[in-house]
């Protein structure tokens, strides 16, 4: 009582009824007369009472879905979060976000913290942790993994057809006459991870071969930040014999490449064509006008939310949902320059 948080007992005392009666009102349960409801609701309003989630969680499900994401830089994560929010907004589930920074290949602390808080399902973008860890986690708690290709009998997956997406990019560039197409890949994950970037790289190699461009295969691997990709691109340009086109593993990275090209005094697309991946917000800005492969992050988030809810309620077996990529042509790509 007094200065600390009011409890259900305080409300009961104020309304002159039992704790059970208040609980019934809170839960909209059977057996409450209009008069009692009235009295209780007034007491609740007077005291500013709100039930403690922790106490509820002792007896009932939390109606909460947890989302674990790497620290929130990067437009693509924001797209996914938006989608999850949308997907849950109309239903009874709330969303709780646990950002994490210290993911290792052995464990994901963001997911563990959500497990501690008894969320009913977890949606996760976890690029580093090994698939076997995710798998054992998912045996305890319904889990939807976004943007990883590892197969699993235990967790749902929402993933883009990155192989097809890479093919779209390569075919587009090849159709413009490019042969020397370098792929800047962010495939930096360790063992036990089948990342989208690994699949994009495989898709790139496959498409290049299919188009008879084996001789021009060229992959540079670097981190996915703008700065790292900028550095990697600069190094590539400093080597003799630079490519006429870049297929970069993300928009974020592509912006870094554009920075490096600009600093090298090269024009886009006149000297070098650039294709990104994700179709993030800035790609469409006229200052970038970046040709890119859309994977529809918001839709992926929305689907992840739906799968999570489904899995809590009824479905037993794991499912996979694949988003179909589309090429968005803009002005960062053009015909190869004839010598």
């Amino acid at each position: 009582m007094s200065s600390s948080r009011p409890t259900i007992s305080d409300v009961a005392a104020a309304a002159g009824v039992s704790r059970a009666a208040v609980s019934k009102v809170l839960r909209d349960a059977y057996g409450v007369s209009p008069q009692m409801r009235e009295r209780v609701e007034q007491a609740i309003a007077e005291l500013g009472y709100r039930p403690r989630e922790a106490a509820r969680a002792m007896r009932t499900a939390t109606r909460t879905i947890g989302v674990a994401v790497p620290l929130l830089r990067g437009q693509f994560f924001a797209d996914i979060l938006d989608g999850v929010y949308e997907g849950l907004d109309t239903g009874p589930y709330r969303m709780l976000v646990s950002p994490f920074d210290h993911e290792t290949s052995e464990r994901n602390p963001g997911m563990e913290s959500l497990w501690d808080r008894e969320v009913e399902a977890v949606i996760v973008v976890s690029p580093k942790v090994r698939a076997s860890w995710l798998d054992s986690f998912a045996q305890r708690l319904p889990t939807v993994v976004v943007a990883r290709h590892d197969a699993s009998d235990h967790y749902d997956r929402v993933v883009n057809d990155d192989r097809a997406g890479a093919a779209l990019a390569v075919e587009h560039l090849a159709a413009l006459g490019h042969r020397r197409i370098t792929h800047l890949s962010h495939n930096v994950s360790g063992p036990g991870v089948l990342s989208p970037h690994a699949v994009r790289e495989a898709g790139y190699r496959e498409a290049m071969r299919r188009l008879g461009l084996d001789a021009y295969l060229s992959v540079v691997t670097c981190g996915g930040s703008e700065a790292e990709t900028c550095r990697a691109t600069a190094a590539l340009l400093d080597r003799g014999d630079p490519p006429t086109a870049l297929f970069v593993g993300s928009d974020q990275g592509a912006f870094g490449s554009l920075r490096a090209l600009s600093e090298h005094g090269l024009r886009v697309p006149d000297d070098v064509s650039v294709v990104g991946y994700d179709d993030t917000q800035f790609a469409s800005h006229p200052r970038f006008s970046l040709t890119t492969v859309a994977q529809y992050g918001t839709a992926m988030g929305r689907v992840a939310a739906e799968l999570a809810v489904e899995r809590i309620k009824v479905r037993k077996e794991a499912r996979e949902w694949v988003s179909q990529p589309a090429l968005i042509e803009r002005e960062s790509t053009g015909p190869v320059r004839l010598l």
Copy 2:
């Protein structure tokens, strides 16, 4: 037991000790022999036991600080979240994020949901809700409000000196010879809110007057998204007599203005100079090279975290921390064109 989550009793049974003994090991409390610790830890590992936060919260503080932010679009929010994470990373407090979308002027559901979860303090970016609501909330739970200027005896504030920031922008443009400087303000909040945008607008007016440019005062108000600011800028340009310089209330908005200028075939800075606010990631990209006012969002987040922790532990009275803005000159501003 069996298939559901293991409890402390399961661990106790497996280790052949009492529940209290396990609890001691968990809390690193006094009175545990090395042998007992060994046995208990082994049982914990075997069962994959992790204590339920909800059960703990019934008896002890949660050691959690909640962060409530509008849905996560916008680089500036991401900067703040990063800062909060950094600020808490070394201490005992964890961070929980509650994104919200349906903030009204009467209440902020994200903050309420954190209160339900018994976080020990709340850090919030809440542009819409009235100050009086924040004030009454803060009387129940330590609260740090980021990016609002409303005075309060109950919550801490972390805020930029927006008046000075606006002056920096105006002075910079005036020094380049601009007179017809229009301010695109995102000051769209209702009553009971003293937003940074309101203060920037006031700062703009004050600086213009101080510089003898009263006659050129011109403010256009629009939402803060890129799209809305783009539309507002386009409308402004369609009116006759367009300004030679724009001071936009945010980088996000400034990117929208750049889009509109580009679509109108106007060059920056040759035809129109543009200044943003926030110094977000993309402002430094050569494709934008946006002159802007830095307010150091990451530092603000870090300070907010420190204030929150301080307030939980010891401090009783509310404090204000003011970040000093700095002008970052880039290539989106230049001398006014002589006719």
